[in-house]
Every structure is written in C-alpha cells, then in structure tokens.
Symmetry: C2
C-alpha cells in the first residue's frame, strides 16, 4: 500500500454481498452517484478513487442493529464484517475537516447498512507532519505544572454553574491550600454573564499566583474558553495575561476548525473536553471508536483529552476507557501524544487498576467528590489520591498502604468500592 | 414557565424510577457531582439549577437499546419516557456552543440510561434574537438566484472528487446551458491541491457569468469552502471576488463556532451540508432529532440545510425527511427560517409527494443522476424536474402531465418508481 493513502477501518452490518457493500462505501466516498457520469474517466478513477483493501467476515446476525436499511433484491443473510478502505491523500490535501468528511461523511446513512462504525484510521506521515498537533503534550504539561513521576492530581470546580468569579477564586484558594496540581472549570461554564472568562481568570489566577512560592509550582487552571474563534483568542489572551498556563475547549460543540484556529494562536496548553462524545460512541453499531476520534483532535492541537475513568458514573466499559487512554499516548508517526484525562466518579479506589492497565503515570487524574467530599477536607482528599498512586506504582495493596496514612484510610472508608 | 428559560425535550430509557432519572439529568447539567458540595447554596440553586418540567411515561421495554447502563439497586422495570427539562438562560449567556453543552453534553453517557435522545429544544426569544441567523434565508436565496414560485432545481458536481478547475467549469458550462438554477460542489471536495477553491471558483464563475445574460439570472454555485476559520474567510472572499453568490460548509466537520465566525464575515449565502449527521441520528435510542439539531445551525447562520429526500438512497424514513424540512421552514420566534435541501437519489418521481407533504416550493431540489444521467442529456434532466414540479403544484398526475412533454416522459421511463 502506498504511503500516501489514508486507511480507515470499519465494522459494518449488511444483508448485501460484502464485496458489493464495501464497494458502495468506496464509491460514495469518492465518486458516487447512482448513474456513472461522463467525467469519471479511468485516469481520474485511478488517481482519486477510494479502494477496498480488505474485508473480514465476522459473524451472522439475527436482527439488524439499526432501522431503515434497504434489503438486497431477493433478500440476503445479515452479516457483520470488518472493512478497510483506502483513500488518496490528494482528495483531502492537509485538511482535517476534509479528512473527517472523507472517512465519515455520509457513510452512516447509506442504504445497504444496518450498522456502520469507524474503528480506526491511519494517515500518511506527511499528513500527520502537516498538522499542528499538541503544543505541549505530556512533557510540556509536566513542565508547565511542575509535576514529575506521578499523575497530575486535579479536580473540577463545583457547583458546575453559578459561582461568581470571587466565589470560584475562594474555592481555588481552598484547593491550592490542599496542594492540588490541576483545577478545571466544568464543561457547563464558559463565558456566562455572571462569570465572564476574563474576570474569572483574573480572580482565580491571582489566588494561584499567591500559592506559587509555597508550592514551588503554579497550579494549572484549565479555564473553559469555549466560544467563537475570535472570542476564544481573546479569552486565551486574557488567561495568559492573568498568568494562566491552560485553556479548556469543549471539542464537539466548538468543532475541529475552531480548535485549529485556537491552536494557531495559542501559547497555552489546550485541555480538550469531549462532552457530547456519547452520541458518537454509545451505540456499538454506529458512530466511531475513540481510537479514531481522538486522532482528529490530537492532530488539531489538544494537549489533554478526556477518557472517562474506571468504574465511573458513566456507561463506558473499563476496557474501552483503557483503550482510549492508550490511544492518546500512542504516537502518530512519532508525534502528537497527549495526556489522557481520567475523570467522573474517580477516587483513591481506582488508582491501582488504572496504573496496572496503563503501565505509566502520564495522565491527569481528576476527582470531584473524591477531593471536595473527603471527610477530612480537600487537603486530605488530594493526599489520599497521591498516596493511592504511590501504592499503585509501588504495586502495594491499597488497604495495606493506608495503614498509618489517615487521608487514604479515610478515603477508603468514605468511598466504598464500586 | 419563565420566558428566560431554555426548554429541552428528551426520550429516555431507564430502569430507575423516572423522577430520580430525570433529576439526575437536571443535576448533571447544572451542579452535578456525586457528593453535594459546600458552595451549592439554596440561592445558587434557585438561580442556576436545571428543573424537571414534565415526565411522560411511554412504555415498558423488554431489552435495553444501548449497553452499559447501571441498573438500580434491587432492579427495576425498564421504561421509556419523555422528559422535559428547563435551564436558566443565564447559564449559557448568548453562546450557541454553550447551549449545545447545556442540552446535550455528558447526558448521553449517564449511568442510569440505556437510551437518551434529544427530541427538541426551545430557546428564549432574547436568545434567538441575539444570534446572527441566516443572512439570506428563503427570500434572500430566491432573490440571489432569481427564482420565484418554484423550487430551485439543482445538481451536484460529479464525479465528487478529481475534477480540475477547468474540468469542473466545463461541466458547469453544460449545466448552465441546461438552464439549471443551482450547482453545488460535493461535500468531498473542499480545497485539495488539484482544485484549490480560489482557482475553482474563478473558473466556474467565469462560465456562470457568461450564461447570465441569456438566463436573466446568475446560477447559484455553492463552492465548498470547508476549512479553518481563517481559510474560510479567505475562500469566501475569493468566491465573492469571482462573482459567486454562495459558499458551502460541511457543518459537522467544521463545527458550530467556525460557522459563527464565517457568518460574522460573510456577504454570501451559506449552504449547510450535514454530512456526518447519520452518527447523531440513526440509532433511535441515542443522539438527537433534526428538529433540535437544525436549530443550532440556523441560529449560527446557515441559509440552506440538507434534509435528504423522499425514497432516497439513504436509510432515513420519508416521515423523518418531511419533519426535518418542515422544521427548517418553521420560524424560531419569528426568525431564522432556511431553505431545506432535498437531495440523494432524487428524480422527477419524488416531486409530487414532496410537494404534497410540504405544501410549498420553498426548497432546493437536487438531482445528481436525475439530471446528468437523463437519457436525453442534462437539459432534458432539468426540464423534467421543472415539469414534475409544475405537475406537483397543479395537483396533476405525473404520467398524465408527461404526455406531450418528452423530457418528463423520458425521465419517468428512465427512473423507475422506487
């Protein structure tokens, strides 16, 4: 296979012959209409057509996963298969939005399919090299946050909405006093009238700067600047002027193009929040795996990407969470690795399994209730998480490690094993 | 209900008590963590909390639609219900990306649900009034295209990819000679190296201008400018400089924020292509209805929005297509109506039913093969569609109307009733 082709792997469900179904996918995504048209010369096809690389039959199905597919004339056996297609890079140039349309586009609606999911994609080295990618990534985040050899322990400002800049700063003061590494806004607070970004960033960062000497590092605050491109540039500059090191973007509501714009302007770390992701992923027969999705946003410039967490409050399986985190840490042609963000219902309890599954500490570990809701207060909450990670890395049992460590012991009592 | 609240209606599936499940949705989207936190005062809750407006039980289900949901302790009966939530406008300000996170966000992943779909949303009048909305809409599009009292008849450049600017212009010449109203790029061609936007727009519009005097109107060409915000502004200006009246954007790959940026700059009509939409919609238990989705992109400034077509090559039901088209034409507080775009496998055959279901001709009717693949050539293809719509509006039977009208007669022979 030429190195100048984009590869995309799908799981499909169809009652049509697999070869015909795969050819329909390739046709739709490179020349497709229901009548062959005059301009479609052999030379043009050779240069621009998508190709079916491989078809692997998986199993026979009893019922279609999704409604509305068109049965083949005369009927057919409903089967699942994996299909790999290749597309000429020339069709998309260096454009990430064009790549998205190329490998996803109208495919999900095509008549022959009662299921179609993008599992993974591979881009040519030259394509990956032409993307901005994360400006900081794992190493840059560690340097900015002043945290080595362990996960960044962080939390989310709660209540998610309603706090004024002054009230937010007051909570941040408590969290900095608790020796936290990282604080993020909730995805629900962007630039509302009661807490404009510039004012909130100023109030929060004044507090963070005040703790800097004592901590020997500047706590990283991911200020949610999700907005129009122009406003995000303005918000970014306000966060930077206040002394901030990180901004946060709601990737799906804001979109790929606006993230590229921010990245071209940004001098700060970009924390990527994936709210809305459930729509893309929760139906196994539809949408895409995070293995594919996260590549778009890494290449576009996010430095951190959310992956939920083990035994979280969400529906995602632990295996999927770990696969997502590994994907974030796997280079694309030697580039663009980012920090996975473990979040949602996390406490000291999940540290050992997370470390065992991932094999490293290059991650953000966020706990909401696990810190603010710790029975002995936020400082004990942060300490309990750090101790849990020490135990995890040392391969020691949590309960054993908690002896003589009251913060961890209290956390284990308060947050029962889920 | 206060007029300053956002309303969102969902279909949910859960085995938890419905009141508790709905409260979890409201909590997640306004203050949620698994431990009640100190800053969450009663006053803050009163001002910023989401509220459950209404719960309507629908039916009992045997099996969960989606995997991974968390059963209630002790088990429970799996039920579907409609839930309406309200959110204070203050939580999002005037931001469309923030509105998206507010009504969608993490909801799709919440533990109690084996299904969650956003059915519709209503924004306060002041919110709608603060959005740019379509710059041209239905009336503006008709004025620019010089077409009154019938649908704009259009087509898509095929093959989708691979044509040089000169080859594209050659095809456009044929289409203009065929008396077409509207021509769009395929969603797969944006700004590739073999056909840069500026060069393509120049070549195409030179041809269109040459036909202008004879036609008494300038054929509308929707040039696909999907790209980064900065590049889209540049492409827009190139299309405008070449004499174009319309640009096209792939809404999902580009995103809401970049569309807002383009709209703030645009002096041309914006054609919104929804490729990727199948991911949001095809699983009935997940994602969102177009009734909700299209409001975001109308308020952000699209003038045309795709809705598939009756008996199309896609999996969508005809009822859903018509509901989508009606939604596009329904004002949001007296504003923001746009032209629905009927496309995908359309020919003369679908005109009567489309008109009967919609009751007006304020739409774009695009045929690919139905025009270029017409046995007597593209001019006959365009004529056949115009004649089919005359018959539709007159309430006459297609076959009857085709007597003495060879273009329509040939179309009916060539494109068998699907």
């Amino acid at each position: 296979m030429s190195t100048d082709r984009i590869l995309a792997r799908y799981r499909i469900e169809t009652a049509h012959p697999l070869e015909a179904a795969a050819a329909a996918m390739a046709g739709e995504q490179s020349s497709g209409t229901f009548v062959r048209v005059p301009g479609e010369t052999d030379e043009l096809r050779a240069r621009h057509a998508a190709a079916v690389v491989r078809i692997t039959e998986l199993d026979t199905l009893e019922l279609p996963s999704l409604p509305g597919s068109h049965p083949p004339p005369g009927g057919g056996r409903l089967r699942a298969a994996e299909v790999e297609l290749s597309f000429p890079r020339a069709n998309v140039g260096d454009s990430l939005p064009a790549l998205f349309t190329q490998v996803a586009g109208n495919l999900f609606e095509l008549g022959p399919f009662s299921g179609l999911r993008l599992l993974d994609l591979e881009v040519p080295e030259a394509f990956a090299g032409a993307q901005p990618g994360p400006g900081f990534g794992i190493e840059g985040t560690r340097r900015l946050a002043g945290v080595r050899d362990r996960p960044l322990i962080g939390t989310i400002i709660k209540p998610s909405v309603g706090l004024t800049p002054a009230a937010t700063a007051e909570l941040v003061d408590t969290l900095c006093a608790a020796d936290i590494d990282f604080i993020k806004d909730d995805e629900l607070i962007a630039n509302p009238p009661y807490s404009p970004v510039a004012e909130r960033a100023r109030a929060v960062l004044e507090v963070i700067r005040r703790h800097e000497d004592r901590l020997g590092r500047r706590v990283m605050y991911a200020c949610n600047i999700s907005d129009t491109p122009e406003a995000m540039r303005r918000h970014h500059d306000a966060v930077e002027a206040a002394g901030g090191t990180c901004v946060m973007v709601n990737l799906i509501p804001v979109g790929l193009s606006a993230l590229l714009d921010l990245r071209s302007h940004a001098r700060l770390c970009i924390h990527g929040h994936r709210n809305g992701w459930g729509m893309f992923s929760r139906c196994p027969a539809l949408g895409m795996d995070y293995t594919a999705f996260q590549k778009f946003f890494r290449m576009a410039g996010a430095d951190h990407l959310h992956v939920n967490g083990l035994r979280s409050k969400f529906c995602e399986s632990d295996a999927s969470v770990i696969a997502s985190a590994r994907a974030c840490q796997t280079p694309i042609h030697g580039r663009h690795t980012v920090m996975p963000v473990f979040s949602a219902g996390q406490s000291a309890r999940q540290a050992p399994d997370t470390f065992r599954a991932l094999g490293n500490t290059d991650l953000l570990f966020l706990a909401g209730g696990g810190i603010i809701g710790h029975p002995d207060g936020p400082a004990a909450g942060v300490a309990s998480l750090r101790e849990a990670w020490e135990a995890a890395v040392a391969g020691e049992d949590l309960e054993t490690y908690a002896r003589g460590r009251p913060a961890l012991a209290a956390a284990l009592r308060a947050f029962a094993a889920p």
